[in-house]
Symmetry: C2
Subunit: 301 residues, 2 copies
């Protein structure tokens, strides 16, 4: 019996420029990328906020993927908008603008029927809001947490209160260094495990990802792409693939988590191959499983 | 029956500063790192040049590892000397000086008894010299080639003549991009495979290494270290571990090459844990095999 996933995060319009083209008003936001990726594995309960400019077509995309949007609040005003321009080297980007709009007053309220969702992903929002979400949930089986440099620097104390309450933190190398003050990956991981954090995922973009636990480290490469197009949402799609896969495991143990990292990497790769969420929408289980097998072959002797 | 390895490369004194200490007159040079790493697997025939300041103690280190130094020419003048300073982030370093000294006139002459060595590694020297070495060898079974940005930019035509004559090229991401003009890893690899190059190894430092062939890609992580001390020679130690392991394979096939990449990664890690060649000298087969197993476990589900 599959488990459902609750995601709390942003809903956005993205205006994206890359060396290969432009997209205006593209569907974006961490909760949107996450839930579309996760929907290929498990049922998703969605919590977010959008303005009354959010089109029915966007909701229809979510609904076609079986995503429950009871928790998506549509409110007066404009939807969060982000504009970014990628360089020839897609690892480099400039943020052109960030208009928080209705997202500035986001105060996530978890619908009653969502409160027993077994798996929870707290997207990259203010740590105090992440804590407020947790306080509405009686006893989730597994909780994941995302964050970013901005929260590490500006709301460190709040973030350090949330971390011991979750099972897994998703972070990248530089965020880990900022959060822990460690000049070295292993030292940074040790610091957080000693605080009681059970699992971490270190996202390394084109260099793949690492799952860290008391049982050791597990590495997966990123799926290599000949034609990456738009990295927007890759990390959220990774997380969606990861947590979506957790929903299919009877026991969320180390073996399940390791496979989930590979599925995360696969979903991240489909995201990057197309603009916006296109790579997540035109996708099926067979394509996912083929790429999973290919990625596993790349580390097998 | 193990196969011997012929290496042609530099012999140097290194003056190294890192945030953790300084070493003056440290043993260095690509052929020295390579041969010490390779010696843990196979017999090594060494070709290089040193000045008459090169100490007997250094030769004794090589001999203790069973390395044949018939091909190490000691000539009037000073040994090649390199000075470098590493930053807190060990991926960043400044070259303080490069005194080529006797290495400036290096013209490798392969001793008669070395000419049938089955496995050959052409260290990072001028491509015309690499070609001159190949012309002295009747028919090696397997040839590896190292190079660097400097040769790619200044002697590209000569380098492009050597590449089709070797089985494997060792290179890093940025060198691959410079050599092929490709903005993407897969495109760069395809370009070189289409020229007839059978294998490439892409060195990615702390992110591990990739073996590329017509059979696909094989990834290994770098062995994670809590206390990296001195990255000097890590790439050469990787190559030494890799080619040394090839010497133990009856057939140098894809399965052998994949294991060799992991052994390369292991030897690179032992190098980085200590200054100069110390990590390669205080080493035994048991330590190597333990780390090999640990590294393999980090990718297994």
């Amino acid at each position: 019996m599959k488990k459902s996933i609750l995601v709390v995060g942003s809903v956005a319009f993205d205006d994206i420029e890359t060396p290969w083209g432009k997209r205006f008003n593209a569907l974006g936001g961490s909760a949107v990328y996450f839930s579309l990726a996760a929907s290929h594995f498990s049922h998703v309960n969605f919590v977010g906020v959008a303005g009354n400019d959010y089109p029915d077509g966007a909701l229809a995309v979510l609904h076609r993927h079986g995503i429950d949007t009871t928790g998506l609040k549509i409110t007066d005003g404009l939807t969060f908008r982000w504009g970014g321009r990628y360089h020839q080297d897609l690892n480099q980007r400039d943020t052109l603008y960030t208009h928080l709009n209705v997202f500035a007053d986001f105060s996530p309220k978890i619908p009653t029927e969502y409160r027993t969702t077994p798996i929870v992903f707290l997207g990259n929002i203010q740590p105090a809001l992440q804590m407020a979400v947790l306080n509405q949930l009686p006893r989730p089986e597994f909780i994941g947490l995302d964050t970013m440099n901005y929260w590490i620097n500006s709301t460190r104390a709040e973030l350090m209160q949330v971390i011991p309450k979750v099972n897994l933190l998703v972070i990248n190398d530089s965020e880990l260094a900022e959060l822990t003050g460690a000049d070295n990956l292993l030292k940074g991981l040790k610091f957080l495990h000693e605080l009681g954090l059970q699992y971490l995922i270190i996202k390394r973009g084109e260099y793949g990802a690492i799952l860290s636990s008391a049982d050791g480290l597990f590495y997966t490469p990123a799926f290599p792409l000949e034609m990456p197009v738009d990295p927007t949402g890759a990390g959220d799609s990774f997380a969606g693939g990861f947590f979506g896969y957790l929903g299919t495991c009877e026991h969320i143990d180390y073996a399940c988590l390791k496979k989930a990292v590979v599925y995360g990497s696969v979903l991240g790769s489909f995201c990057v191959e197309n603009f916006s969420v296109d790579g997540l929408v035109n996708l099926n289980q067979q394509k996912i499983n083929t790429r999973y097998r290919q990625l596993r072959q790349m580390v097998e002797i």
